[in-house]
Symmetry: C2
Subunit: 363 residues, 2 copies
C-alpha cells in the first residue's frame, strides 16, 4: 500500500493505489483503505498539560477511529520547527499540520488574534458560539486561504488567571513601572497603563521571576502555572485573567494535504478537533480545580482579585488598543467588527445565564 | 455485504462477510468494511432545536466519518418508542441506541439524575470536568451496567432560564399557591416552598399557560422557549435557571450492540458524542443570544432576576431535597457524594475564573 509522506515537500496528488481501488470496488460504500502519515508541529513543550496534550489526544483518537488510516506524529515546539514558526512551516507545506494559537501570528496576520482571545473579550462558550454558529469560521477560513491553510478550532483553556505578582496591586499607581511578562495585546494594555511588558518563552519565566528580573508574570492558570512552579517564585496570585478570557487554540492544515484526504477522513478530523475542544475544557476545569486547592493550602500565597479601579482602567485601555488593531488593515477591521457585534450579542445572554447563575450559587 | 439490523431483537454476533475478509487482507491495517445500521430513539420532537438536533448531527457525522459503515436512523419521541421509554427500549435491546436525559429515569435509577442536572448544581463546564477527568464517567458506567447500557455524554444546554410567569415574584410569599410546570427535583423544591408543581409534556405547555391552567412554566431557555411561543402566553421572564444550571444529555447504547462494533467505530462514536457536546453548547449560545435579543424588543415582556430572598430559600430547600434523594439508595448516596465533592472543588475555580471574569466585563 502506498503511504503518503508529506514531509520534505508537497507530493503531487497521488492516485489511488491499485489496492485502494480494489477495496473501493469490494466495499459497499465503505472507506477507502489508503493510509496517510502526517506530521503535526506544535507551539508547546511535548505533552505539556492541556495545550500539549490536545494534539496528542487528537492524533491518538484519529488513529483509533480511522483504524490506522490516518496516523499523525506530533512534535513539540523546537523539535523539528521552532515553536513560533508553526504557521510558516505548515503554510509552506514542510509539514501537513500544526497546533498552536492564532495570536502567535501577529505581524503576519494581525487579524488572526481575534480567533484566540482579546482582552475583555469572549469566553470559551461565547467564542465557540461565534465560530460554529455565528459566522466566525467563515471569516477565519477566508483569512487563512491566501496562506494555503485550513483552520479548525481545537481546544480552549477557559478563563485564565491574572498572574503571579511579587508586588501588591492596590491601585492603578502600582501598575507604573511594573515589569511583567505579558505578551500580545495584554502587554500593550499594560504598557499604556505605565508598566513594562516583557515577552519570554514559558521555560524562562520561573527564573526571571525568582531572580527579580521581572516583578510579575501571567502564564495560563493554576493547572499550568503550578507545573512551572510559579508559586515558589511569587507571593500574590491575582484574578481574573482579563487579558485572555477564553483563548481558543487552532489546528492548521496545509490546503493540499487537506484536499488529499478522502471525505470520511476530513469529516473525522473536523469532528475530532471539536471533541478536543470539549475535552481540553474538561481537562482544564479539572486540572485548575485540583491545582488551585493545593495552592490554597500554601501559606506563602495570597489569592486576590484585582481592585475594581485597576480593572476599569485596563478595560478602558483595552478598548483603545483593539480599536487601533482594527485600524491596521481591512481584515482586522472586518473580523473585529464581527467579533464585537457577537460579543455584545452573546454577553447579554451570559449576563443572565452563566453570570447570574454563578452569583445565585454563592454561599 | 451483510448488514446488521438490530431492531426486532439482538442478532447473534455476525461473522465478517467474505468481502470484508478480503478487504481486511487487502488493507494495510485499515478499517473493516462491515456495515451497521442502527436505530436511535429519542425523547425529543424530531429535529427540535438543540436537543433534537444533537442526535441528528451525531448520526450525520458518524456516517460521514465512517464512510457509511455506521448508519444511524434517528426517531423522534413517540415515533417508534414513547419519549420517556427510551431507557427501557434500549435496555431491552429493541433498538441499539437512544438519546435523552438521564433524569428522565428517576423511579428506575434515581441516582442517574446527578448526570443531567441538580438544582444549584454544576454548570456545563464543571459537569464535563467531573465526567471526563474527575471520575464521573466510571460511576455512570457502573450505574447503567445492570441495565446493559453504555452511557456516553452527548450535549449540554448550558444554564437554563428560571421560566415564564404570569405572576410577579417579588418575595417568597409569591411562590405560595403558584401553579408551575416544573418537573423533577426542581418541582419538589417548588412544592416545599408552597407552590404546586405540574408535569406537562412540552407540547402542552403553551396552551396551559395561555388558558391560565398554570401560572408559570420553565422549559429551557430563550432559544427553545421562543420556538414554543411562550412569550406570547406570559409576561415575566425570570432568571437564572437555578433548577437546571447545565443539564448534560446522554447517548445510551445497548451493551451487545456496543460490543458488536469494531474498535474503530467505537472510538468514532465516543469522539463524535464529545464533539456534539461542544457543538450543542455552541448552538445554544448562539440560539439563546439571538432569541433573547428578539425577546428584548417585545414591549409586552419583562426580563427579571429572581429576588435574592427567593433564591436563598430555593437554594436551602434544594439542599434538603438532594440530601433526601441521596438517602434513598446506596447508588444515589455514592454518586451524590462524589458529585458534591466535585462541585465544591470546581466551584472554587469557577468563582475566580468564569464568575470573576464576567463580573469584570460588566460595563
Amino acid at each position: 500500500m502506498k503511504r503518503r509522506h508529506f514531509v520534505g515537500g508537497l507530493a503531487a496528488a497521488a492516485t489511488l493505489s491499485g489496492c485502494a481501488k480494489e477495496t473501493a470496488n469490494c466495499a459497499d460504500g465503505g472507506a477507502s483503505q489508503e493510509t496517510f502519515e502526517w506530521s503535526c508541529v506544535t507551539s508547546w513543550p511535548p505533552r505539556f498539560p492541556g495545550l500539549g496534550m490536545a494534539p496528542e489526544n487528537l492524533a491518538e483518537r484519529v488513529e483509533a477511529a480511522s483504524a490506522g488510516r490516518l496516523k499523525i506524529k506530533v512534535y513539540g515546539g523546537g523539535e523539528i520547527v521552532p515553536a513560533f514558526e508553526v504557521f510558516d512551516a505548515v503554510s509552506r507545506g514542510t509539514v501537513e499540520m500544526g497546533h498552536g494559537a492564532s495570536y502567535y501570528h501577529k505581524g503576519k496576520v494581525d487579524a488572526a488574534q481575534f480567533f484566540t482571545s482579546i482582552p475583555f473579550g469572549m469566553t470559551n462558550l461565547e467564542l465557540n458560539g461565534w465560530l460554529y454558529y455565528g459566522g466566525g469560521m467563515e471569516l477565519w477560513r477566508e483569512l487563512y486561504e491566501p496562506f494555503n491553510l485550513v483552520p479548525i478550532p481545537t481546544g480552549n483553556t477557559g478563563v485564565q488567571m491574572g498572574g503571579w505578582f511579587n508586588k501588591e496591586i492596590n491601585s492603578v499607581d502600582d501598575l507604573k513601572g511594573l515589569k511583567m511578562r505579558i505578551p500580545g495585546l495584554g502587554g500593550e494594555v499594560l504598557r499604556r497603563a505605565g508598566g513594562t511588558p516583557v515577552t519570554l518563552p514559558g521555560a524562562e519565566i520561573f527564573t526571571a521571576l525568582q531572580t527579580g528580573s521581572i516583578d510579575a508574570t501571567e502564564w495560563v492558570g493554576p493547572y499550568n502555572d503550578a507545573s512551572f512552579g510559579l508559586h515558589k517564585a511569587a507571593r500574590y496570585y491575582y484574578y481574573p485573567g482579563w487579558q485572555e478570557p477564553g483563548p481558543g487554540l487552532e489546528t492548521i492544515i496545509h490546503k493540499a494535504a487537506w484536499e488529499s484526504l478522502p471525505s470520511d477522513l476530513q469529516a473525522l478530523l473536523t469532528t475530532t478537533c471539536q471533541a478536543i475542544t470539549a475535552d481540553m475544557a474538561a481537562e482544564y476545569t479539572h486540572g485548575n480545580a485540583t491545582s488551585l486547592r493545593q495552592l490554597k493550602e500554601d501559606k506563602n500565597i495570597e489569592i486576590r482579585p484585582f481592585p475594581a479601579e485597576v480593572i476599569a482602567l485596563l478595560r478602558s485601555i483595552a478598548a483603545d488598543v483593539v480599536n487601533e488593531l482594527m485600524a491596521t488593515d481591512p481584515a482586522a477591521e472586518k473580523i473585529g467588527r464581527a467579533y464585537f457585534d457577537y460579543l455584545r450579542l452573546a454577553s447579554e445572554t451570559s449576563r443572565i445565564s452563566e453570570k447570574a447563575y454563578l452569583d445565585s450559587r454563592e454561599f
